[in-house]
């Protein structure tokens, strides 16, 4: 159920503004049909969340096509024109570089970059924000960016690092496939951070766009000998605080 400021939302009216079968309309439908109550301070905030979810999915698809390589942090690399590789394998925005241009370069010159799956999730969020709020607003908000795993996370996206249970899982959610019996020689297979693409598939950096079963099969191939526990999709998600982001960008 969707409410706006405590009142039932005009769901049909909202859904009609979006392409049938698209990310936004399917999210509106899922929220409206849920047994849980989703309250928004305004329709604009709901629209912002829907736009962000659409662009998270689009950014994940673009990142998949970018040629971004999978590398463990020890072997990570980046385009030094825009980024500085830190000694722990993360990437810091190069002083003087334009934040939106630096993020866009990852999508356009993906083969110049290699990193782990958690970093890719942050690149997806930044790409989505640029698409929704534009270069100028993005550059004002993110004068410094550090890309790594959930250990280093900008405050604006802090909530994406916390996995929480939700009544419903939607397109654009960050999910996690855990591999509890991972082979200790390959800790990079301890789990896969993914974006829910809204069509039953998930984008995970390194594995590509696959069904949940296919991702689990990939992880299961990297378990320790005689493992008794298979990989599984955790019943939780990491979500940006869309209201906070909406307010942050003064929309």
């Amino acid at each position: 159920m969707i409410t706006i400021n405590g009142n039932a939302a005009p769901v049909n009216e909202i859904a009609a503004r979006y392409t049938s079968g698209g990310i936004e309309s399917s999210c509106v439908r899922a929220l409206a049909q849920s047994g849980a109550r989703y309250d928004y301070p305004s329709v604009n905030v709901l629209d912002f969340e829907l736009a962000m979810r659409r662009e998270i999915v689009n950014s994940a698809a673009r990142l998949l096509r970018s040629g971004l390589r999978f590398e463990v942090f020890r072997d990570s690399y980046c385009n030094m024109r825009y980024w500085v590789r830190t000694m722990d394998g993360g990437f810091d925005l190069r002083p003087g570089a334009q934040p939106s241009a630096a993020v866009r370069d990852i999508y356009q010159n993906g083969t110049a970059y290699g990193t782990e799956c958690a970093t890719a999730m942050q690149i997806v969020y930044f790409g989505a924000l640029i698409a929704v709020v534009g270069d100028a607003a993005f550059d004002r908000a993110f004068s410094g960016i550090s890309l790594m795993n959930w250990h280093k996370l900008t405050r604006a996206l802090a909530e994406t690092g916390s996995m929480r249970q939700f009544p419903d899982y939607l397109a654009g959610d960050r999910r996690y496939f855990a591999n509890p019996d991972v082979n200790l020689l390959t800790p990079e297979w301890q789990g896969e951070n993914v974006i829910d693409m809204g069509d039953g598939s998930y984008y995970g950096h390194g594995v590509g766009r696959l069904s949940g079963g296919e991702i689990i099969a990939n992880l299961n191939q990297n378990r320790r000998p005689a493992s008794q526990r298979g990989a599984y999709l955790m019943q939780s998600a990491g979500r940006p605080d869309f209201v906070k982001l909406y307010q942050m960008f003064g929309r």
Binding site: V72, F73, R74, D75, T86, M87, D88, G89, E116, C117, A118, N149, W150, H151, L153, A158, G161, S162, M163, Y176, A178, P180, L184, L185, P187, Q190, G191, N193, P225, A226, M234, G238
Partner: protein
């Protein structure tokens, strides 16, 4: 080799290690190759010296393989080079060692001796590329294997120290910390928590991140938190289990939790499998069912 007619250890270091410390890696390799040419048996004994360290074997491994001395290595040295080759993705190199160290079922299970040796003799060096090579990756793997299977507090203390030393240097600690927290052994956890009391802000910050503490900011506050944590460990010791949560999945990992049901029953659990060490009695099982029925939230088991 200087002082070379003695093959035993001198204090902490063997002859090969002393040469490395005094003259560097290039000189060590040259001297070792010369020794093989002059007296192969003597070279074999140098490799087998109890006081020879993992870094020295790592530095000499190209020469050891080229000069066909792999069969002269000790079992722990073979394990170490197997892990190192595997971490480098070099399967043909790993194959040089695996036929010697696999168990009867074909599975390689590094021994406590091998892992402890890698960690204790290898923790003070970061490899030739200071954190960007297969040496420190092998150390990370050794810590993971060790934490996953063994409980020697002294080795874990060294591993904990390595996490913080690397962090102070700005090097990557993630795989190392992930491996370390495969244990739920209270002494090992307390070694990490003790860094709350460090004068180095980087130590305190990392401790808080690794253990999901909110930094109390003041020294007194940190000491109080540390003592509170030790008390929590003592109270929950029999019920602790490792979750393997890490920064790959969350920004606030709870690497160790306690099993509330085990605590309710006062039954010790296996920290690595979260199963009771002894099967429950029928009475305990009935008590557990009643306990579950009385609890609204049986899944939230984190303190």
């Amino acid at each position: 080799m200087n002082g070379g007619n003695t093959l035993g250890s001198f204090g902490m270091f063997g002859a090969l290690d002393r040469h490395w410390h005094a003259h560097g890696a290039t000189s060590l390799k040259r001297r070792f190759v010369n020794t093989v040419g002059e007296n192969r048996q003597r070279a074999e004994l140098l490799l087998q010296d109890d006081a020879t360290s993992f870094p020295v074997i790592y530095i000499l491994r190209d020469d050891i393989e080229r000069l066909e001395l792999t069969d002269s290595l000790t079992a722990r040295e073979k394990y170490a080079l197997y892990i190192t080759a595997h971490k480098a993705g070099d399967k043909s190199r790993a194959a040089l060692y695996e036929h010697n160290i696999a168990d009867l079922d074909g599975v390689i299970r590094p021994t406590q001796d091998a892992l402890s040796w890698m960690i204790t003799t290898g923790a003070d060096w970061d490899g030739p590329s200071a954190g960007r090579d297969d040496y420190d990756a092998a150390i990370d793997a050794a810590v993971a294997f060790f934490a996953d299977r063994f409980d020697d507090p002294e080795t874990m203390k060294i591993a904990a120290g390595l996490i913080f030393r690397r962090n102070r240097l700005g090097l990557n600690v993630h795989d190392l910390a992930w491996g370390f927290f495969l244990t739920a052994e209270p002494n090992a956890l307390s070694y990490v928590a003790k860094h709350l009391l460090s004068d180095n802000p980087a130590d305190v910050e990392l401790t808080c991140k690794l253990m999901s503490f909110d930094d109390p900011v003041t020294k007194d506050g940190r000491r109080a938190l540390y003592e509170e944590y030790l008390a929590w460990l003592t109270e929950h010791r029999p019920y602790l289990y490792a979750t393997a949560e890490h920064f790959n999945s969350t920004s606030k990992p709870y690497s160790v939790r306690h099993d509330r049901e085990a605590k309710f029953l006062r039954r010790e659990i296996e920290p690595r499998g979260r199963t009771p060490k002894k099967p429950l009695t029928d009475l305990e099982y009935q008590q557990l069912l009643a306990h579950r029925a009385n609890r609204e939230d049986i899944t939230h088991d984190n303190d």
